[in-house]
Amino acid sequence: MNPMPAPAHTESAHAASGIAVAVAMSGGVDSSTVAAMLHDRGQSIVGLTMQLWNQRRLPQLQGDGPAQHRCCSLDDVYDARRVAEHFGFPFYVVNFEREFEQTVIRPFVGDYLEGRTPIPCTLCNNHVKFDQLLLTARQIGAGKIATGHYARVRRNGETGRYELLCARDESKDQSYFLFGLTQEQLARTEFPLGELTKQEVREIARRLAVPVAEKPESQEICFVPAGNYVRFIEGYLQEQGSALPADSGEIVSVSGEILGRHNGLHHYTVGQRRGLGFATGRPVYVVEIDRARNRLIVGEDGDLRRAACEVRDVNWIPFERPGAPVSARVRIRNRHEPAEAKVEATGETTARVTFRQPQRAITPGQAAVFYSGERVLGGGWIR
C-alpha cells in the first residue's frame, strides 16, 4: 500500500477552475457554516449537494413525519442553494441516487433482513460522500472536500500518514462514523468544525449571517421518514417486487423456552427491551437474532454481555495492519463509552476485539471503532 497518497496540490496545477475546496452541503447549519467559514477566509469554494434518494419512490411513506427532516427533501436543497446564493459562490446539486441505492439502501435493507443493525451514515461516508462526491469534486477541479462533520484530520509528520481524531467537542464527536476513511480520502478531506463546539458553530453562523443559522438539527436516518425503518424496508421490498421478510416466528429464552411470537425479525435489534409483546416479571432484552431459524432469542441483562467480537472490513488509520495485538478503547455503537480492549488483526481485513470487561449488546452490523486517546486507530463491522 502507499504510505502516503499523492498530495492534493499536484492536481491544482491543472485545476483550471481555480476551485480549491468543494463543500459537501446538506442544507443544515453545520455544513452551511463550513461553507461560510471557508468563503469568509477567502478560499475559492464550490458547494455540492448530493441528491441521494427520491422521496417520491415510496409514496406510502409520505405521511410519516415532517417532510423537512428528510433526506434530499427539496427544502434542504433549497436551503443549501440559498446559502450559496447569499455568499455568492458556485453551487450544484449532483445526482448520486443510483450509487446511494447500491451502496447504502440495499445493504441497509439486507442487513436488517439478515438480523443485523446497520449504520447507513457510515456506508454513505465510505461509498458515497468520501468516494463518489470526492471524485466529482476532483473532476471539477477541487483538490479537497470539506464537510460539516465534527472530527479532525491531522498529518503525522513522522509517519507521513493522515490521522483521524475525535472532535474537540466530545458531545458532538462523529469520528465513530468515519472509521472507514482511507489515507487517500483523509488526505483530501477537511473538517473545519473539528475544533469547535456546537455553540461556537451557531455563533459563527450568526456572525456570518448564514441563512440557516437557526435551523433545528436533524438526527434521523436521512431517507427513513419519522425513524420508521420497518415501514421503509417493507415499502422498499414491495417496490422492488421482493418477498417481504418472513413475518412471524418464535421468541425463545436463552434456555430454549418458547415465550411468544415475534412479527418479523427486521423489527428488532440486539439490546432492545420494549415492543417484545409479552410481559414477564423482569426486564427482558433481545439477546440474539437467529435468522436461520427465524427466532428471536431473549434474556436478561446479564445474557447481553459478551467479552469479545469479530469484526470485518477493518480499516487501520495511523498505521498498517499491526502484527501484534493493540491495546485500545473500543466503541461498539455511537455514544457508547469506549471500553478497554485488545484488538488483534486476524486476517487482511478482519480482527478480533477482546474487552477487559464484557460489553452489553454487542450488535452485529454496528461498527467497532478503536481509539487510542483522541486518535482513531481504525475500525470494522461487527459480525
Binding site: S17, I19, P90, V94, N95, L135, T136, I140
Partner: protein, 390 residues
Amino acid sequence: MSIYLDHNATTPVDPRVLDAMLPHFAGAFGNASSIHSAGQQARAAVDAARDSVAGLIGAKPAEIVFTSGGTEADNLALLGIVAASATPRKHVITTAIEHHAVLNTCQQLEKQGTDVTFVDVGSNGIVDPEDVRRALRPETILISVMHANNEIGTIQPIAEIGRIAAEADVYFHCDAVQSAGKLPLDVNRLGVDLLSLSAHKICGPKGVGALYVRSGTPLAPQTFGGHHERDRRPGTENVPGIVGLGKAAELARTRLNEDSPRVAALRDRLEAALLASISMVRVNGDRKRRVANTTNLAFSGAGGEALVIALDLVGVACSTGAACSSGAVEPSHVLTAIGLSHDEARSSLRFSLGRTTTAEEIDEAIATIPRAVERLRSLSPLATSAVTAR
C-alpha cells in the same frame, strides 16, 4: 469569458424584442379587455402580435391562442382535445422522445382513462411515420409528435405524419417549441391542427407562448375565468410578454435564412473539432436530419454531470439530461429511447448555439472542452474501464 451554449434551454431576449416590450409595462399599461382607449391601445398591441405569430407559421390570427408558454400550450392541446371528444373510448398516440410537457400530460391522460401509445424511435432519434400509422386504432383521436427534439435536435417527419393523421381523420398536434426560428414552419404544409410555440426559445421573454388551433378544431378550455382568447384561455393578457413574442416571431421569420446557415456552420465546426481532438466521442442522433444549432455528444467514460459543472466553472454553459426538482440531473429519456445505455446517457452533453453565438466563442469552446474532458477522464474509474474494454 462566459460562453453560452445552451440555447435549447433558453435564449437571451433580443434587444429589438426588449425595445418592443418596454412601453407596455408602465406607459401603455392598459388591460386589453377594457373599453377605454388605454385598453384599446393594449388590444391593438396584442392583435399585432397575434398577426406576427400567425405569420410565422402560416396561420390565421384567429387561430392563435396566447398561453403562459410551451408547457401550457402542450397541456391545453392534449387535455383540451381529449376533453372535447365525445367518444367513449379514447386513444392518443405520441412518441417516446417528447418533452415532459407532452409526456407527463399523456401520463395524466392515462390516469384519467385515456389509452396512450408511446411510439418508439430508431437509434437515429427519428420516429418512423409507419410506426405511427400502425399505432392507429378506431378510437384514436389525437396524435402528438414534436417537430425538433430538444436534446438531440432531430427533426421528425411531421408532414408525413400529418398526411397519416388526415387520412385517419385524427387531430394532429405538433410541439414546435424547438423548431421555431430554426426551421420554416407552415401549419398547412405540415398538416397540423395544433402547434405549440414558446417565446423564450426564440429570443423572446419567458412566461409567454402560443397554441395554434386550426379553425373548426374543438378544444375544451382547461382553465376557467373570463372570455379572453375566444373563450379558450382565460386570464388578462400578458401584454408585454405577448408583444415580445410577436416581435420574436417576426425576427424568427425574417432572420431564418440568415441565422440558420451561420449557426449551422458554427455548430459543425464545434462538432468536428471535438470529434477530432477528443477520443471516444460520438454524436447522438441523426447528424443530417437535425436542426442547425444542436449537437449532442457522448463522451465515453466522462460523467456528464461532472463535466457540465467543470465546464461551467471555466465559463462554458451546456447541459446534460433533464433537471429534476432538486436541480440534480436525471438520465435523459431521449437518449435511453435511442438505445444508449445508462452510462452512455450519463456521459452525454448537449451544446446548443443561438443567434448571439460568435465564432470567437466557438474557438474558445474548442480550446476549453477537450481539456475538461481529459482532466475528468484521467480521474474517472469509468474511463479506465472504457479504455481497457476496447
